[in-house]
Structure formats: C-alpha cells, structure tokens
C-alpha cells in the first residue's frame, strides 16, 4: 500500500472506531432503558401508587416510598437550593476573583464530585448519632448537602451570563448591589437558575447511598420527620436483592418510575437552557 493509501486507511479506521465508541455509549443507555421498561412496565398498576410496601409474598405498592422520596427531596432542595443560590451569588457578584472565592470555588468543585456515601457518613455522625435514631430529616439534610454544590455551580455560571452593562446601568441609577442583584440580575438569570434547581432535584432524587444510614427505611406509612422514612432508592435496593418475586417486581417498577422522573427532569432542564441560549443570541 502506498503511504497515502495507508494514511487514508488509518484515518477511516480511527474515525470508524470513534463512531463505534459513540454507538457503544448509546447502546448502554438504550439497554438500560429497555431493561427497565421490559421489567418495570408489567408491575405498573394503580396499586403501585395507592398501596404500601408489602411484606414478602403478598401484593402491595410503593406509596409510602414514593411519598418519602418526594418529601425528602423537597426538603432537601428547600434547604440546599437557597443556600446554594446565595453562595453562588456571592461568588458571582461579591467575591469574584478574591482569593477566598477561588478557594470556595475549588472546594465546591471538590464537593460536587465527592462520593455521596461520605456525605451519608457525615450526616450520620452529625445528626443520627446525636438524635439517637435514624430519621427522615437526617436523610433530607444529606440530600441538601449534595444539592448545594450543584446549585452553587449553576447559579454562578448563570449569573455570569448576565451582561455587565445591565448591572452597570442599575448601579448608575444609584442602586445598591443587593437591589441590582434582586431586581436586575435574578430576573435576567431566572430560567438558568431554575435549570440549576431542576438538575439538583434530578441529582438528589436518585441518591441511595447517603440515605442508607440516615433515613434508613420504613415498611409502613410515616409522615414523621423525626422517624425513619421509606424512600424509593432504598426500597429498590432492599427489594431487588431479596429472593421474593413480588418484591423484585416492585423494585423494577420503582426503578422505572425513578429513572423516568429523572430523565424527564434532566431533559426539561436542558430545554430551558437551550431556549435561554437562543434568547441570548437574538
């Protein structure tokens, strides 16, 4: 083969391989979704949403687990969201390039990729040991801690997208920074901040490891935040590894439910961002 033909051949080979790599990535996404739908859809009945988690061998649903997941995720985002937004605001508007801000930004990035099980251990030491028992509020706090770095990051990025000219205009009219931020910057960055919150919700609603020893699990309906509370991820964990067919079926249904919720949230968040980007270009 001539040198030229050889180079063309290598080119084609390498490019096909990269196409193949992409196909492999997409294949696994497809395979996982297909498995979830195949195994989960059969058990999807009204019972899943209206009945409690059953003892082995009898039928039931996931109502208490769904409720627990929703409650803990909501409390988690209600604590973590505002804290993250405020911290993001500090980094974007007040601290900017100060040394302290650089450190906080770095620490936030580290927290962003820190293993969630470590957060679980931390909250266990912080709350569970002191209270003497597992509780829903401990679960919610660990979810909040996971939501904070996500929100900090997206809030800072989104606030930085707001044109400096708008801020200057507000300052020129004599507004204090807090006025500029709340009346000009936040409204301008609103959809971006909403995206960040949606992504944070998506991130925490599937978290399992930090709930294992904070909220634990509860086979029964409980709305007491001071007591252990059922939640979808831990129920999936427990039921999937059990030998009982009815528990395994519920685990698959729960898995399908949680994955669909998260994928819908993630896609919705991206749609908000892309409409924002297009609005910015115009």
């Amino acid at each position: 083969m001539s040198r030229r033909a050889l180079r063309t051949f290598y080119n084609l080979l390498a490019l096909s391989l990269s196409g193949l790599a992409t196909a492999i990535g997409l294949f696994f996404l497809g395979a996982i979704l297909w498995t979830l739908i195949k195994n989960g859809i059969g058990g999807m009945s009204l019972n899943v949403f209206t009945q409690m988690t059953p003892p082995p061998g009898s039928s039931g649903g996931l109502l208490n687990a769904i409720y627990g997941s929703v409650v803990m995720t909501l409390i988690g985002i209600l604590i973590g969201g505002p804290v993250g937004m405020l911290a993001g605001t500090y980094l974007a508007e007040y601290g900017r390039t100060s040394r302290l801000s650089m450190v906080i930004r770095f620490v936030n990035d580290v927290l962003l990729s820190a293993p969630s099980i470590i957060i679980g251990l931390f909250v266990y030491e912080l709350l569970v040991v002191r209270m003497g028992h597992f509780s829903a509020i401990a679960g919610a706090v660990s979810l909040a801690i996971i939501a904070i770095p996500v929100t900090v990051r997206t809030t800072e990025d989104m606030l930085n997208l707001v044109p400096q000219g708008m801020k200057d205009a507000s300052t020129a009219m004599g507004a204090y920074p807090w006025r500029t931020i709340t009346s000009v910057v936040y409204p301008a960055a609103r959809s971006g901040i909403v995206t960040g919150l949606l992504l944070a919700i998506a991130r925490i609603s599937g978290e399992t490891a930090p709930l294992l020893f904070t909220a634990l699990n509860n086979q029964f309906w409980s709305s007491n935040l001071g007591a252990p509370m059922a939640n979808l991820p831990v129920v999936i964990f427990q039921f999937a590894l059990s030998p009982y067919p009815n528990w395994q079926q519920l685990a698959w249904s729960g898995a399908l439910l949680i994955t669909l919720t998260i994928l819908v949230l993630s896609v919705a968040a991206r749609l908000v961002v892309s409409s924002l980007a297009q609005g910015g270009k115009r």
Binding site: T22, G25, P115, I145, G174, A240
Partner: protein, 322 residues
Amino acid sequence: MNSVPAIAPAQAAGQRLRERVFRGATFAAALLVLLLLGGVAVSLAVGSWPAFSHFKLAFLTREIWNPVTDEYGALAPIFGTLVTSLLALLLAIPVSLGIAIFLTELAPTWLKRPVGTAIELLAAVPSIIFGIWGLFVLAPVLQRHVQPWLIEVLGPLPLIGKLFQGPPFGIGVLSAGFVLAIMVIPFVSAVMRDVFETVPDVLKESGYGLGATTWEVIWQVVVPYSRTGMIGGIMLGLGRALGETMAVTFVIGNAHRIGSSLLAPGTTISASIANEFAEAVGDLYTSSLIALGALLFLITFTVIAAARFMLMRLDRRALSSV
C-alpha cells in the same frame, strides 16, 4: 434649575442595612460550603479515631475483616477499590475518547446535540439503576458468554493468566469494573469534549493546510494541545469510580478477600460501608467502617483536587484566549 431631590437619610440608612444583610447572607452561604468540607473531614477523623488508635497503622495493611472477633483491616477494600476503578478507566478511556472525537470533529451539526444529550443522560441515570441492571442483565451475560472465553483464552497465558482463572461467577471484580466503566464514560467524554472544543481553529486549520487527514489533526494537534485537560477529565472519572457505591455494591459480591483473579468476588470501600454500616454493632466495628470512609475521602479528595487543579488551569487558558 431643578435639582434631583436628595434621598432621605433614613431611607439611605435602610438601603445600607439591607445591603449589609443581603451581602452577609450570601457570604455566610459561601462560607458554609467551606464549612461543609471541613465538617466532613473533622467528623470522619473523629469517627475513625477509635479504629485507628486501636489497630494503629496495621489497619491499612491487614486483610482480615472479622466482626465476630472484632478484628478489622482495610487492605481488601482498598485493593478492591483501586482495582475496580483502574479496570473501569482502562475500559472507559478509549470509548470516552472516541465519543469526544465523534462529537467534536465528526458528527454533523444536527446530530451533535441529540447524541451529546443522550450521552449526558447516561450520567443522570442513578447509580442504583446501574446496580440492578448490572446484577440482573450484565452479570449473567458476562458469566455465560464473556468469562468462559476469558478463562479459556487468557487463563493459560503466563503473567496475565492469573487474572482470568477460576470459575465464572458473573458477579465480581470484573463486572464491577465493567459497570463502573459505563458510569464514568459520560463524565470523561463530556470533559474531553469540552477540552477539545477549546482548541483554536487556527491550529487545526494549519494541520489541514499541511495536508493532514482528520485523524492526523486529532492525534497530532488536538490531543497534544488538550493533554492536561484530558488527564484532568480522566482523573475526574477516576474520582467518580473510586467513590461509586450502589452500582458496585450490587455486582461485586462483597467478599473481604484479595484474590488474584478478576473473576472472583471482592469488595470495595464504599460497598463495605453500604452493606455493613446500618447493621454494624459495637463501637470498633462502626469506627472501622468510618475509618474506611475516611480513607476513601482521602483518596478521592486527592484525586479530585488534582483533577480540578488541572481543569482550573485549563479554564484560565480558555478564558485568556477568548
């Protein structure tokens, strides 16, 4: 001449007060981020103190893990964590590189977004879902179709043969590495893609101008230019793999032992904690598990910090070239 009416002093004071309150609130929230990391470090140090003071440094070098006699050593989980993560990287790096190349250099514009989004969605799938999929779908496939082949073909080889001997369990170190690889691919490829996109067009055009093929431009211009960022992305993936919990817990088999075979069950730090922590009785047992957590924290913190540092330098370069 009309002058603008001056702002009333009381109103001005009110404005200043609100400014102080708002600024204080944002500052407090920002400090809380620092405190969180500090709090995690301190609580892990305190919680693991009984184990470290009881076992001393032998905790790090002993394989034994026996709740009955209350003797614990971290060697097997550390070993499992490192092996599964390295295995995951070995499998994930080429695929991630391929995806990043495809998305930045090959895909037509209309295809870029849907494919990129799909890969990102893979990162959004919760860890526990990878776990049940790995246990019920991947592990049986590996056990039936892949592992027998590995044992037959690679098992008799010298040196690496040891890695592929013994019965095909399905669950074990290899399966855990495989699932981890799928989980880190979206992270590594996303960073690589972003890094590739910072390569100035002029550089690539110079390559093409000299008559280079697409692949030659990628391999000799894009990749060398992005080296630091690529390594940062890989380290970030490594950080993910090291700390990944639920998916590994499902497929690793949870055996506190160090085997030479990749096909045998093992355990990782995070899987041990997830499996045993809620049921651990006795202070020493609990403390040993927290000590495992502290080790995991140290390892991942180092890796992630290094990764972020590399990517931070890259960010600055990207910003300065704008």
